[in-house]
């Protein structure tokens, strides 16, 4: 309870402090000669938030880059090294995780977009009331944390030895169809089957997001283009692939990249469901173990550098898209 009180104080200080700071900066600016005032004020307004991202994101990025070239960090023997990069490129654990990350990147965005598109297209044909209810249901998992969703699906995958009644729904269905299972689904690493079981959780979580954006895009497709195709005798499936999809391509790209960025950094689901065991490890979990289980800051930093390098293309795309929007403004 004492923490709740300090929470309230923190809100008051945070918001009040920000207001006071801006008020003072503004008053200060107004005392300056007019010309200086106009020059100074914008920086006073953006200064605090720029300082915040500087401290919490930019400075750490620089330090991480620096640490990736250091060994025995924090000791008097700290020195320059390339060993962390050698580790990054040769460690079998990292290579294995990268394969998993690659599978996640290929299958999760594709799965979520495909399912989201399916729901968006089908629900569009329902009466508005039913459409709304359907979309709410598909969207609901988005409110659930990765840890919560992992627990829900661990319960679905729960397993008991052959001969006992199964209480995990999926295990019960599989054993009902295919006969007894000798081990839990999330431990079967043959063909990385268990990685796919974990990916299913992420698809389940992200389909709603894909659906919301894709549904909005579909509704913006001009109806006369669809009518024209229909008059020409196109089937519904032809209309979907040749008329609708080409017109929502940019939304499909946006949704796919957004989920892809998320998946690149996936941590919670493998951490909670398998702790990265049974060949399901991912790069963000390796980072966590290196940094906080083994305390190897150099190696942990090099893994982060790898993560950043992988996100750079998307950073570039975002900035490019932003500039295009600005040009149209």
């Amino acid at each position: 309870m004492g923490n709740l009180v300090s929470g309230v104080v923190a809100i008051a200080l945070g918001v009040g402090g920000a207001l006071l700071l801006f008020y003072v900066l503004n008053a200060l600016a107004e005392r300056m000669p007019k010309e200086w005032e106009e020059r100074f004020k914008p920086y006073a307004f953006i200064g605090p938030s720029l300082a915040v991202v500087g401290i919490f994101l930019l400075y750490p990025a620089i330090q991480t880059f620096w640490f990736s070239f250091q060994t025995r960090i924090g000791t008097p023997n700290q020195e320059f090294t390339l060993a962390n990069y050698e580790f990054l490129f040769t460690d079998p654990g990292i290579r294995d995780s990268l394969i998993n990350n690659l599978l996640w990147i290929i299958f999760v965005p594709a799965g979520a977009v495909a399912l989201g598109l399916l729901v968006a297209v089908l629900a569009d044909r329902l009466l508005p009331r039913w459409e709304k209810i359907t979309k709410s249901i598909i969207f609901m998992p988005m409110a659930i944390s990765f840890v919560g969703a992992s627990t829900i699906w661990l319960f679905m995958y729960a397993w008991r030895p052959p001969g006992s009644e199964q209480f995990g729904l999926i295990t019960a269905i599989i054993t009902g169809i295919a006969g007894p299972m000798d081990e839990p689904l999330i431990q079967i690493s043959t063909g990385r089957l268990n990685s796919f079981a974990l990916m299913a959780v992420m698809v389940w979580l992200q389909t709603g997001f894909a659906m919301v954006l894709l549904s909005a895009a579909i509704k913006n497709v001009p109806t006369d283009t669809i009518e024209a195709a229909r008059i020409d005798g196109a089937t519904e499936i032809q209309i979907f692939w040749r008329v609708t999809v080409p017109q929502i391509r940019s939304t499909i790209v946006v949704v796919t990249t957004t989920i892809l960025i998320l998946v690149l950094k996936v941590f919670d689901i493998p951490r909670v469901m398998t702790s990265g065991n049974f060949n399901t490890n991912v790069i963000a979990n390796i980072y966590y173990d290196l940094a906080f289980t083994f305390g190897d800051r150099g190696r942990a930093s090099v893994v982060v550098v790898a993560l950043i390098v992988m996100t750079l293309p998307f950073m570039y795309i975002n900035i490019k898209r932003f500039r295009e929007q600005e040009a149209m403004r």
């Binding site: 923490n3 409110a143 627990t151 993560l307």
Partner: protein
């Protein structure tokens, strides 16, 4: 990244006339059955957990399927057990973390957003591009340096660490959403305030802030759910023995993975607040998510 602050779902909802009449397309039975199956896929997992959490007999709970539990005794005993096992305290902690972490960044972000949208200055585009670029930066970049920084500065309070960290991590998104929204306000409104002799501060306080309530709400809800559902940041910065719901739940899974009476009830306690937010504020929630799902 989705550029629009308000996704078109909001608009289309208000314009039913644009929708082709139902007779034109008409859902056949095939699509309807497919949708029913999909809806089942998206509700049954959560439903199963929910039903199970009320099963009074914990032995039956981990021996028989929840779909066979009809006629069994249901009560709240699992909830009281897990609340006493630390989940109750964690629930309070989650509130203590999430509410300030949501509110604190807003004011600073709103000032910056106003400057980016309506003031002319050198380096405006370059500085804003920093925020756009940081939207997707992996948070892993910050954990080791910030841990050192907190130590060096002498910040030992876990809650303070989390408030600061979430403020920092949420700032690019806050500035981005608010700048897009404030920038879309009509130019005449801002100009007229200027003609009336209002300073930037007055314009911001009297005009921009009240007009930006939808965008502020969208960000606030996104940030609240993000901080409530966050696992990684809390796992790393809460070192003093306190925990939030996600961390407690993950720990229960790790240490008591067979005790499904604890896990089912615990999972539900961790989910109840976001679910309430979801069902009561879905409109804003959709906006916040679609505008903010790029966050690292």
């Amino acid at each position: 990244m989705s550029a629009q602050t308000a996704p078109p779902t909001e608009e289309t909802k208000d314009k039913p006339a644009l929708k082709p009449s139902k007779e034109d397309t008409g859902a056949g039975w095939g699509p309807r059955i497919a949708l029913i199956l999909l809806c089942a896929l998206f509700t049954v997992p959560t439903l199963g957990l929910f039903v199970s959490s009320f099963r009074a007999d914990e032995t039956l709970l981990r021996r028989t399927g929840w779909w066979t539990a009809f006629g069994e005794q249901f009560d709240l005993s699992n909830y009281s057990t897990v609340l006493d096992a630390g989940m109750g305290e964690s629930f309070i902690n989650s509130i203590t973390v999430a509410v300030p972490a949501t509110i604190i960044p807003i004011m600073a972000a709103a000032f910056a957003a106003y400057a980016f949208a309506w003031m002319d200055f050198k380096g405006r585009e370059f500085l804003f591009i920093i925020f756009v670029g940081l939207l997707v930066v992996p948070l892993q970049v910050a954990f080791i340096p910030l841990t050192q920084l907190f130590n060096a500065v002498g910040i030992t309070n876990d809650f303070l660490k989390l408030w600061l960290a979430h403020t920092g991590f949420g700032m690019p998104l806050a500035v981005y959403i608010l700048r897009n929204y404030i920038g879309s306000l009509p130019r005449e409104v801002i100009e007229s305030a200027k003609v009336d002799g209002a300073s930037h501060f007055e314009t911001f306080w009297r005009l921009i802030l009240p007009l930006s309530v939808p965008a502020l709400a969208a960000f606030a809800i996104f940030q609240f759910l993000w901080t409530w559902n966050d696992f990684l940041v809390a796992l790393i910065f809460m070192t003093g023995g306190q925990e939030v719901v996600t961390v407690t739940l993950a720990e229960l899974v790790g240490s008591r993975g067979q005790d499904w009476h604890l896990l089912t009830a615990g999972a539900f306690i961790s989910m109840i607040v976001p679910l309430i937010v979801f069902f009561s504020l879905q409109r804003f929630f959709v906006r916040g998510l679609t505008a903010g799902s790029v966050k690292g």
